[in-house]
C-alpha cells in the first residue's frame, strides 16, 4: 500500500506522536520518518516542566509526617494541623507532577519522544495506591525512566527495579529472607517476617520474560529470595541513606539460587542484579517487549511481521531501545495499518489540547475528567498498567463522558477560530470528507470543534 507524504505526515504526528498541533503536519510533511527519528536521543525523554522535589526529599517529608502522626496518637490527639498540612503537601506535589506531565504532552514539539516515554511509564507501572507511592510516581518516572528510555533496556530495568517508588509499590522493602540474620533477630522478638514475592513475580511476568516463558512458582520464589535486602533507607538509617535505595545485607537470604535453570552464587546485592541482566537478555523478553511496542503503536492485534522485526532489532542490538524505536519507524507495517488504535482518555485529552493549541491549567479540573473516563491520574488498576485494547476504553458510559467533556472544552477553547481549519490542522489527510462536511455545517464554532474531537478518526490514531 502506498502512503503519500500527506498521509504519512498525518500518521507520524497522530499515531507515533500525541496528535498534531496547528502547523505540525505541514512541518512534518517534508520528511515524516525523519521528523520522527530526529526525536530519538541518547539523553532520553524531556522532563516535565517546573521545579520539583526528588524521591528522597519526598520520602523524608513522608517520614516527618509519620513521626508527627505518631506523636499525635501518643498525645491522644486527632490529626494535628501540622500533619494534615504535610499530607496535603505530598498530595499536592503528586497532583503537580501529573499536571506537569500533561502540560509537557500538550505542548511538546517532540511528541513521539514523549509517547515513547509514556509507553515505558506504563510498562513499568507504579500506581498511586497509597500516600507513599502517590508521592513517588512522578519522581520514579523522572529519575528512573525518562533519562533511559532510548538506552539499553537492561539499564532501564535495573533503574526501575531499584527505585524507591517501585520497591515500595510492589512491597519489596518488606521482603526479608527467612534464613537471614534479620529474620533470626526478629524471631527472638516473637515476630516472623519473611518473603514478599510481589516484585519478583511482576518483574518476570510483566517487565521482562512474560508468562509465555514458562517459569514456575519455584523460580518466582527463588528470585524473591535473591532480591531480599533491596530496600529503601528509613528513619533508623543514616541521614544520607534515608529515602534512597539501600542494600540491607542482614535481610538478604544467604545462599546460591537457581532461577529458570541458571545458578546464581550469593553475591549479596549483586545476586538479583545478575538475574536482572539475564532476564533482560532473554529472547522471551525480546518477544514480550516487541509485542507490547507493536500493540501500543500500531494495532491491538499487530502484524506478526512487525513484531518479528522489533524482536530481531532488540536481540541484534543487545536491547538498545533507541535502535528498536528506529526499527519501528522504518517498518512499513507501522504505517500501512489502518487507524484502529482507540485513544485512551489520557491520549484523547492530550490530542484535544494539541488540536486546539492549548493545555491544561488546573489539576482540580482535569483529574475528575480522567477518573470519569476510566483513567484516574497516576492510578493504573494494577502493576500491568493501563489496558491497550479499544474495547476496554470504548464502553458506552465512557463515550458519553468523552462527548460531555468535548462539548464543555470546545465551549471554552474555540474562541473565534474556524473549526474546519482546526480539523485540517489536527488530522490533515486523515480527515474524511463526511466529518469535514459535518463540521462545516455545525451551527456554532464550538459545536464544530466538538464534532471534530468526537469524530471516529480523531478518537483513533
Amino acid at each position: 500500500m502506498a502512503i503519500d507524504r500527506d498521509l504519512a505526515a498525518a500518521i507520524a504526528t497522530t499515531r507515533f506522536g500525541l496528535g498534531a498541533r496547528p502547523g505540525e503536519i505541514a512541518r512534518a510533511r517534508a520528511d515524516p520518518r525523519g521528523w520522527l527519528t530526529a526525536q530519538i536521543r541518547a539523553a532520553g525523554a524531556e522532563q516535565p516542566p517546573g521545579p520539583t522535589a526528588g524521591s528522597a526529599e519526598r520520602l523524608n517529608e513522608l517520614m516527618t509526617y509519620r513521626q508527627d502522626r505518631r506523636a499525635d496518637k501518643r498525645a491522644g490527639q486527632a490529626k494535628s494541623d501540622l500533619s494534615k498540612i504535610a499530607a496535603r503537601v505530598l498530595r499536592d506535589e503528586a497532583g503537580g507532577d501529573f499536571l506537569a506531565r500533561l502540560q509537557l504532552g500538550a505542548a511538546t514539539d517532540t511528541s513521539f519522544r514523549e509517547r515513547w516515554a509514556l509507553f515505558w511509564a506504563n510498562h513499568f507501572t507504579v500506581s498511586a495506591n497509597k500516600l507513599a507511592t502517590a508521592a513517588l510516581v512522578g519522581p520514579f518516572e523522572e529519575e528512573a525512566l525518562r533519562p533511559r528510555v532510548f538506552g539499553r533496556f537492561e539499564d532501564l530495568l535495573v533503574a526501575s527495579s531499584r527505585h524507591p517508588g517501585m520497591l515500595l509499590y510492589l512491597d519489596e522493602v518488606r521482603s526479608i529472607g527467612p534464613g537471614s540474620e534479620a529474620a533470626h533477630v526478629q524471631a527472638r522478638a516473637g515476630k516472623h517476617p519473611g518473603l514478599n514475592e510481589n516484585l519478583a513475580r511482576e518483574i518476570m511476568e510483566l517487565h521482562t520474560v512474560g508468562v509465555e516463558a514458562g517459569y514456575s512458582q519455584a523460580d518466582v520464589t527463588e528470585f524473591a529470595r535473591a532480591m531480599t535486602g533491596w530496600s529503601v533507607g528509613g528513619e533508623a538509617d543514616p541521614p544520607d541513606r534515608r529515602g534512597a535505595f539501600m542494600f540491607r545485607e542482614r535481610a538478604h537470604e544467604p545462599g546460591a539460587r537457581t532461577i529458570m535453570g541458571r545458578r546464581y552464587p550469593d553475591t549479596g546485592e549483586g545476586q538479583a542484579l545478575a538475574v536482572l541482566k539475564d532476564l533482560a537478555a532473554s529472547p522471551h523478553t525480546a518477544r514480550h517487549l516487541a509485542l507490547k511496542i507493536a500493540r501500543h503503536f500500531v494495532a491491538d492485534d499487530p502484524p506478526p511481521a512487525l513484531v518479528a522485526r522489533l524482536e530481531r532489532s532488540y536481540l541484534d542490538t543487545g536491547g538498545q531501545l533507541g535502535e528498536v524505536a528506529r526499527t519501528l519507524i522504518a517498518s512499513p507495517e507501522a504505517w500501512e495499518a489502518p487507524a484502529l488504535k482507540f485513544k485512551t482518555p489520557y491520549e484523547f485529552l492530550l490530542s484535544s489540547w494539541r488540536a486546539a493549541d492549548t493545555g491544561p491549567t488546573s489539576i482540580a479540573d482535569v483529574a475528575p475528567v480522567l477518573a470519569a473516563m476510566g483513567q484516574k491520574a497516576f492510578s493504573a488498576p494494577s502493576p500491568k498498567g493501563w489496558p491497550e485494547a479499544a474495547q476496554a476504553w470504548c464502553a458506552p458510559d465512557a463515550v458519553i463522558k468523552r462527548m460531555n467533556w468535548s462539548e464543555a472544552f470546545a465551549g471554552a477553547a474555540t474562541g473565534d477560530r474556524d473549526p474546519v481549519r482546526l480539523a485540517d490542522g489536527a488530522l490533515g489527510a486523515r480527515l474524511t470528507p463526511l466529518v469535514a462536511k459535518t463540521i462545516a455545517r455545525a451551527e456554532t464554532r464550538p459545536e464544530g470543534l466538538s464534532i471534530l474531537l468526537m469524530s471516529p478518526e480523531f478518537q483513533r490514531r
Partner: protein, 425 residues
Amino acid sequence: MTRADTLPRPTRRHALLGALGLGITVEFLGTRAFADSERPLANKKFVVIVARGGLDGLSLSPPVGDPAYAALRGPIALPPFGGAGGALKLDDTFGLHPSLAATHRLAMKGEARIAPAIATPDRERSHFEAQDVLESGAAVVYGTASGWLNRALQAMGPTGKVSAISVGPTAPLILRGPIEAASWSPGGGAGRDPRLPGILQDLYAHDHLLGPALASGLATQSMAKVAGEDAAVTDDGPAGGMAPAPAMQKTDRPALPQARKLGATLAGFMVQPRGAQVAAVSMDGFDTHANQGAAQGQLALRLAYVDAFLDGLATGLGPAWKDAVVVMATEFGRTARVNGTNGTDHGTASTALILGGALKKGGIVGDWPTLAQNRLYENRDTAPTLDMRGLFKGVLRDHLGVERAKLDALVFPGSAGAAPVAGVV
C-alpha cells in the same frame, strides 16, 4: 430545510433524544418483548461481581472451626465466634468476616451461601491470566476474546432478549462480545447542546465500536434518571471504588453510604420495565500482600464496602430480590499462611459468595478440603475442590434456563467435565 432533512436516512436518535428530554424509560436497544411462555425468564436477575486482585477467601469466610486455621493465619486470624471482632457464625466451621453484617443477615435467612474452596482452571497465580480465565470462561488464558456472560446472553435465546449492563467506566472482559451491553457509572448528566448526540450518531452509523457504544450510553443515561441517580453522587464517590483504584486515599467509612447508593442505583436499573436483567460489577483492591488486617484493617474496609453494596442492591431490588442471584468471585485465593509482611501472597482456591432470594437453602457449596498441612495445595494454598465454571453453569442452568449442551460448548468451551453444580438455585 431542517438539518434532519439533509441526512441520508432516519436514525434512532429521534426516539432516543425525545425520551432523554422527557426523562422517561427507554428500552435497551434490541430488547424485544417476551412471550407469555417466557415470563419466568423475564423476571430473573443475575449479577456477577468480579473481585479483582485475589480476594482472600480465608478472610471473607474464615474457617475458624478448622483446627489448623489460627496457627496458619497468626496475626491475621479472626477471633472465634462470639468474641470481640469475631467471625459471624455460619456453621461449626465457617463464619463470615465481621464486616459482612448485612450479608450475614441474608445468610441467616438462607439467602446467602459460600463456596469456600473454589477456583478457575488456571493455576498460574498471575492476576492477569487468572482474571482472563475467570472472565473469558475459557479453560486456558487467551482462550477466547469474548466474556462468558456475554456468550450466556447468546445462549439464553434470540439475540437481544435479555439485556445486560456493566457498572464502571470501562467495559470488563466478562461482558464483552457480540451481544451489546450497556455500561454506566455515576457522574454523567447530559451536555447542553441537544444536537450533538444526534450528529454523532449519524457520524457513527458505520462505526461498529462507537456507534453501538454511544446509542447504548444515551439509553442508559435516560434510565439512570429513572433509576434514581442524583446529584448526591459525586464524581469521586462510587466510581472511585470501582474499576480504577481509589487513588491517594484509602477506602474509609465515609465511602460506605456511596457503596450502598451504588448498589441501590444498579437495582434501580434492573427493576425498570425491560431494564437490564444481567449485570457485571468490578471491585478491586483485594491484592493484600502486606498489612491486610484482621477484624479491622484494609481488607476489613474493602469487605465493608462490598457488604454495603450488596445491602443496597438487595434492598433496592425489593420484591425482585426473590428472583435474583448474585455471585461474587475472584481470580484466585491467597496463601493459607500469613506471609512475612502480615499479608498473604497469590494462592489458589478462594471463596465465592452466592446470594439472592432465589437460592435454595443449604450449607456450603462444594467440599471443604480443610487446612490440614497435607491437604494444602502445593503446601501453601487452600486446595480447590470445586471448578468455578461448575458453579456458574449451575446458576445459568437452574436460574436462567440455559441448556447443558450450550453451557458445555458455547458459554464455557470445553467444560463438559465440569458439571453444573446442582441445588444452589
